[in-house]
């Protein structure tokens, strides 16, 4: 559940304009892919969604409310690298989100609540094909498997918004296809809106329901930093497919299911 609204959004660092006048209305459960040349403010925009950068001007709203200006459990993130905790095993990496949620002082779970959380994490690992690797450390996994795990880790707390910063940029094309399937499955199974930055234009068309292109409209060769980037193309893709698969009643059912699941495990 997350509608994202940007109204007259600017981001400047002193005289350096990164984004100028970005306007955007993203519906709940959209899969937004973002492309654009390097230095065109894609990452800055994602950082604002993440809460580690604040807009210089204009409004950025989630479900009509201003964004909390620091990262929280509403928003999941997968970076290109360094998203995993090297000192934790695969299972512990996934478990961590649940432990943060339910154990405020020790950050660790014990007894029944630990078993419940483990079952939860194990189910997720099985579903993404990482069941047999659960006791390995991230350093023992290949790049593709690491990203697979990182994605799973990000959805365990069921964020409203999942942010992907070139998650497949460093991977082989064959492995990337597998991960596309995974991300679409998780997107369908969880009630979340996805924003994904990518350099791969084909990927952006294949995955997204909406494609944003960030680019500079005006360029002053004497002062390249004087003008910022805007959204120059805003394409709606796969409208029918999305409407068909996620009609309103189906959504309600899945929300109830997830709620009853959560109450069982709590």
């Amino acid at each position: 559940m997350a509608r994202v609204t940007a109204r007259g959004l600017w981001k400047t660092y002193g005289a350096h304009v990164v984004l100028e006048n970005v306007n955007l209305e993203v519906d709940d459960h959209e899969f937004v892919t973002i492309v654009g040349a390097s230095g065109c403010g894609k990452t800055t925009f994602l950082k604002m969604l993440l809460g580690i950068e604040t807009p210089s001007r204009g409004k950025l709203l989630i479900d009509g409310q201003p964004f909390v200006p620091e990262p929280n459990a509403d928003r999941g993130i997968v970076f290109q690298r360094y998203s995993l905790f090297p000192h934790l095993t695969v299972l512990q990496n996934v478990l961590l989100g649940l432990e943060f949620e339910r154990s405020h002082i020790l950050g660790r779970l014990f007894g029944v609540s630990r078993r419940n959380a483990m079952a939860n994490a194990n189910r997720l690992l099985e579903s993404i094909g990482l069941g047999s690797a659960r006791d390995k450390y991230p350093a023992q996994l290949s790049g593709g498997v690491q990203q697979r795990l990182s994605i799973a880790q990000s959805v365990i707390r069921r964020p409203k918004l999942l942010l992907l910063d070139e998650p497949f940029g460093a991977l082989d094309p064959g492995i990337t296809l597998d991960l596309h399937k995974l991300i679409l499955e998780l997107w369908a199974a969880n009630e979340m809106t996805i924003f994904m930055i990518t350099h791969d234009v084909r990927e952006s068309f294949q995955l997204g329901t909406r494609l944003l292109v960030f680019d500079k409209v005006r360029v002053d060769p004497q002062a390249p930093e004087a003008y910022g980037a805007r959204i120059t193309y805003d394409l709606r893709l796969k409208q029918k497919k999305r409407a068909g698969r996620f009609s309103a009643p189906a959504q309600e059912v899945s929300t109830q299911e997830s709620e009853s699941q959560q109450s069982k495990t709590a």
Binding site: L50, I52, E70, P71, N72, A73, R75, G76, I77, F79, R81, Y82, S83, F85, P86, H87, L88, L96, G97, E99, F100, E101, H104, I105, L106, G107, R108, Y137, P138, A139, Q140, Q153, S154, I156, R157, P159
Partner: protein, 271 residues
């Protein structure tokens, strides 16, 4: 014939090569002490093996006629006790401050310059202050070691904690971590191996401060004994003590390394 840079010794070869300098040193000593013993049977500077053996025997296996205790072991126990208490304290304080300085920007701004300045004070220069304020007992000696070692550990750990990829800290927050949870589950566990490395590196200076403190004011301890018998040119005592201190330091270093590989297997994989 392969190039020299491509020739690697086998397991046995590496052992032999590693032992070579030690054997060489022993040979040189034996030769020199033999030459001096031939020239002067009462030479004190480079005692012969038989003199060394009898001294070691009387220090390590016979009770001292005055105090009734076996000096060698009494000294060893006293020194190790001081060393480990000081290292333990330094590690505990260093860990807490290091992690907090590394992870929390407000604390970093407050304490990092102070710790940096503190670590520049030559500990031996304030040894008199410690003796004046804390007396000549154990506290002053342990305080000297802690003051010498702790700031180094704090700075090292703070640097390492500050080097944690910001991606990791952000990721943990998106998983719902509070500052406290971030410290106990993400920062601290990743700092452990660095703490052990840090202890290994400061082991040398810890011994230095220990021996300095013992030399000045003590009634037992390895450093005390060395400086006591110096008056009699008793190289037959000093040399075995120095070798023993080296062995103890080496063993401690090896033990710390072993603990690291056991407690933090993931840290070995990363490289």
């Amino acid at each position: 014939m392969r190039r020299l840079v491509n020739r690697h010794p086998g397991r046995g070869g590496a052992l032999v090569l590693g032992a070579l300098p030690f054997l060489l040193l022993v040979c040189v000593y034996l030769f020199a002490s033999h030459l001096r013993a031939v020239a002067n049977a009462d030479d004190k500077l480079l005692p012969t093996p038989s003199v060394l053996a009898s001294t070691i025997h009387s220090y390590a296996f016979e009770e001292d006629s005055r105090s009734g205790s076996v000096l060698f072991w009494q000294d060893t126990r006293a020194s190790l006790e001081r060393l480990f208490i000081a290292l333990g304290l330094s590690a505990a304080i260093g860990l807490v401050f290091g992690v907090v300085i590394g992870v929390i920007p407000l604390v970093r701004s407050t304490l990092a310059p102070f710790v940096a300045a503190l670590s520049m004070i030559p500990p031996l220069a304030i040894l008199p202050i410690l003796f004046i304020v804390l007396g000549l007992g154990e506290v002053a000696k342990i305080a000297l070691m802690v003051i010498g070692v702790m700031p180094v550990i704090i700075r090292d750990l703070a640097l390492r904690a500050g080097e944690l990829p910001s991606e990791q800290l952000i990721k943990a927050q998106t998983l719902g971590a509070s500052t406290w949870q971030l410290i106990v589950r993400v920062a601290l566990p990743q700092i452990w191996p660095r703490l052990i490395d840090s202890l290994r590196l400061t082991l040398g200076s810890a011994w230095l401060f220990l021996i300095a403190a013992e030399a000045i004011a003590s009634t037992e301890g390895l450093g005390y004994r060395i400086f006591l018998v110096r008056r009699y040119l008793a190289m037959d005592v000093i040399l075995p003590y120095v070798v023993w201190i080296t062995l103890l330091a080496f063993a401690t270093d090896w033990l710390l390394k072993w603990i690291r590989s056991r407690a933090c297997p993931w840290a070995e994989m990363a490289h």
